[in-house]
């Protein structure tokens, strides 16, 4: 009985290949090119591509097929243009090594493009020397799993994105590694996307970039040393959980940029050694919970109008500045956070400091105004000025306090 169940499941998973035939492609076989293989194949067939180098581009897959590479066969586009274009539902691409995608200023050539198709799976693919990597265009219900995309981008204007989703819905992007491209992962008008456990690092612009995309969730990803970590713009209901944002250094660099974002949740993330941990502009009703902000220049920089955000149970550890505001108004709530620079006491021993903490320093206001003054960071003079501002706030919002600061790190 269990054996039968097992078989049934296996049959369901490999359903397509079970029904189709396998066509073998190799440099010394009857069929030596992938294009030829696609031409000869019937629906639901599997093209088994053996080890070797295939100098091909503009491979159009117009029927449900599985392209299965054995020992990572190399498809070399010789910088001619796009390499694989999928225009049919139910296509699987697995185990290929694709290099030399053509660069153009007029069309966005990709290593693998999926156009208006559904139920696709792209996995175990390695992409190098690319323009765009995996490009989904109005394609839904697919999965991009365990790929490695290593670009060699130098300038933003002539480089493309690692994984790009455009008008695509219900996609899972999981376990991918994306490096040295423009944007690691880019979403535009794409809803209900799950981005999980990817590593996006050393990219020119953003590790992850959302534009006009709603109801997406990204969890447990690592964004390190990108031009700027993650930009979330003009989107709604995004969940960001358990991600690590590290070493995003530079003039306009940040762990996360929130611009015109509403109703998002940011929890259990780690922001470490970023110039700005989170940069917030015009974003409302966002919940920040259980995040760790460690050694950032600015843990949180608030610009423009941001209303009804709440910061609860976060750890602010050794940031040069915890919070910076450019206005005197505050409509956001700070509660039960741990601040490493808190110097108050807890006489009633309830674990909550008896003196409120003011996370906005006068100095951060001065630095906003005259950036060069940053060289006076941590000077005695500044400490004296900050102290006097703390006693009687003149320049900083006087209701911006954490009235119940934690005495010990949250979660320790």
């Amino acid at each position: 009985m269990p054996k039968k169940v097992y078989l049934a499941i296996t049959a369901m998973i490999f359903g397509a290949s079970l029904y189709g035939e396998t066509i073998t492609i190799c440099p010394s076989c009857e069929i030596t090119s992938i294009k030829k293989g696609v031409e000869l194949a019937s629906e639901n067939d599997t093209l088994l591509i053996k080890k070797g180098t295939y100098k091909e581009f503009n491979i159009v897959i117009d029927k449900p097929l599985t392209l299965l590479g054995e020992d990572f066969p190399i498809i070399d586009g010789e910088d001619q243009g796009e390499i694989i274009t999928i225009i049919s539902d139910g296509v699987t691409v697995d185990g290929l090594f694709i290099i030399n995608v053509g660069t153009s200023y007029t069309s966005d050539y990709a290593a693998i493009r999926v156009v208006k198709s559904e139920n696709f799976l792209i996995q175990n693919v390695v992409l190098e020397k690319l323009f765009f990597g995996i490009y989904l265009e109005k394609s839904n219900n697919g999965k991009i799993y365990h790929n490695k995309i290593i670009g060699d981008a130098v300038d933003e204007y002539n480089s493309g994105n690692g994984i790009q989703l455009w008008y695509s819905k219900n996609i899972v992007v999981e376990n991918n590694i994306v490096q040295h491209v423009r944007d690691g992962i880019y979403l535009e008008f794409s809803d209900n996307i799950t981005i999980h456990n990817n590593t996006s690092s050393n990219n020119l612009r953003y590790g992850l970039h959302f534009m006009f995309s709603n109801d997406d969730i990204y969890t447990d990803n690592t964004f390190e040393n990108n031009g700027a970590g993650v930009a979330v713009m003009f989107s709604k209901k995004i969940k960001m959980q358990g991600n690590t944002f590290k070493k995003n250094w530079g003039t306009a660099s940040f762990g996360v940029l929130l611009k015109e974002i509403n109703d998002a949740e940011i929890s259990n993330n780690t922001f470490e050694e970023n110039t700005i941990g989170i940069n917030i502009e015009g974003s409302n009703r966002i919940v920040y919970k259980n995040n760790d902000f460690i050694n950032n220049g600015w843990a949180i920089k608030v610009r423009g109008a941001c209303y009804t955000n709440s910061f609860v149970n976060n750890n602010f550890l050794y940031n040069s500045f915890d919070i910076s505001y450019n206005s005197k108004l505050n409509d956001n709530v700070f509660e039960n956070n741990y601040w490493s620079s808190y110097t108050g006491y807890d006489l009633d021993k309830d674990g909550i400091g008896d003196v409120p903490y003011r996370p906005v320093k006068l100095f951060s206001y001065i630095v906003n105004r005259t950036p060069e003054t940053i060289v006076l960071l941590r000077s005695l003079f500044m400490d004296i000025i900050d102290f006097s501002e703390k006693v009687s706030p003149v320049f900083t919002p006087d209701n911006l306090v954490d009235a119940s600061p934690m005495m010990k790190k949250v979660g320790s």
Binding site: E372, T373, R378, F381
Partner: protein, 260 residues
């Protein structure tokens, strides 16, 4: 010179003040580490202490020692010894014993706490190196002031004033000028102004380690080059060395021309 150094040093490490200084740092180290239980936080607090207190103590101690050892100096002057060796020997004796108190006082609690197994060891080493530099610089400045002022009260006053100026007032004027001229590009100015104050310079050195994320947030190209590469570190250490050597040189120069 080495002999004088040896005797000044012995004289000092047996004096009450060296112990007070040593015990102060020892206590500070223990309190910071064992009450807080947070190495990174301890390093930040220590930094504040080092850039304020170390110069002050170096200054006061330097002036005090110089005036108190006047007779000893005269005794030495009648001996077949080179003048510059006498003063440099005394200077290195004072600066050396202060540095030793600092390094041991802070080092012992940190080592006991398990510094060698921690990532903070570089931050901490940098702190101690900066502290040593500041001790040497301010002791040398204090010796210069004392050498040029026969009047103890005056010398003492000038020394404290010097400290106050470099520790607080300088930064106030600096900030004021940055704000007044904020329409102009100021990054070279602000870096240059930092170079003219050893306390600011040491602070910069520490900032390079603790606050690099924030420093890289500023747009100026010169800033970027200074803080983003090893240039900042090298220039800061270089200028600190200059700050140490110049007063020592003046000390040796002036001491040759002074009457006792």
């Amino acid at each position: 010179m080495l002999k004088i150094l040896k005797y000044s040093f012995y004289d000092l490490i047996r004096s009450r003040w060296s112990y007070v200084y040593f015990l102060f740092y020892l206590a500070l180290g223990f309190v910071l580490l064992f009450l807080n239980n947070d190495l990174s936080k301890a390093v930040i607090t220590l930094m504040n202490v080092i850039i304020v207190l170390v110069p002050l103590i170096g200054t006061i101690f330097g002036v005090m020692y110089f005036y108190n050892s006047k007779e000893f100096t005269e005794l030495l002057l009648a001996q077949p010894l080179k003048r510059s060796s006498i003063f440099l020997g005394q200077y290195f004796g004072v600066a050396g014993s202060l540095t030793l108190s600092l390094v041991l006082g802070l080092g012992i609690p940190f080592v006991l706490y398990g510094l060698f197994r921690s990532e903070a060891i570089w931050d901490f080493t940098l702190l101690l190196v900066t502290g040593a530099f500041l001790t040497f610089i301010f002791t040398a400045l204090a010796f210069n002031i004392a050498l040029s002022n026969e009047n103890k009260i005056k010398g003492f006053g000038y020394a404290v004033l010097l400290w106050l100026f470099l520790a607080v007032i300088y930064d106030g004027l600096f900030l004021l000028s940055l704000i007044v001229f904020e329409e102009y590009p100021l990054d070279s100015f602000s870096l240059a102004a930092t170079m003219f104050n050893p306390i600011d310079l040491s602070r910069t050195l520490i900032l390079l380690k603790l606050d690099i994320s924030a420093l890289l947030g500023y747009t100026g190209a010169i800033f970027k080059q200074f803080f983003g590469t090893n240039l900042g570190l090298m220039v800061s250490v270089g200028v600190l060395l200059l700050w140490t050597l110049l007063p020592i040189w003046r000390l040796s120069f002036k001491s040759k021309r002074k009457d006792f």
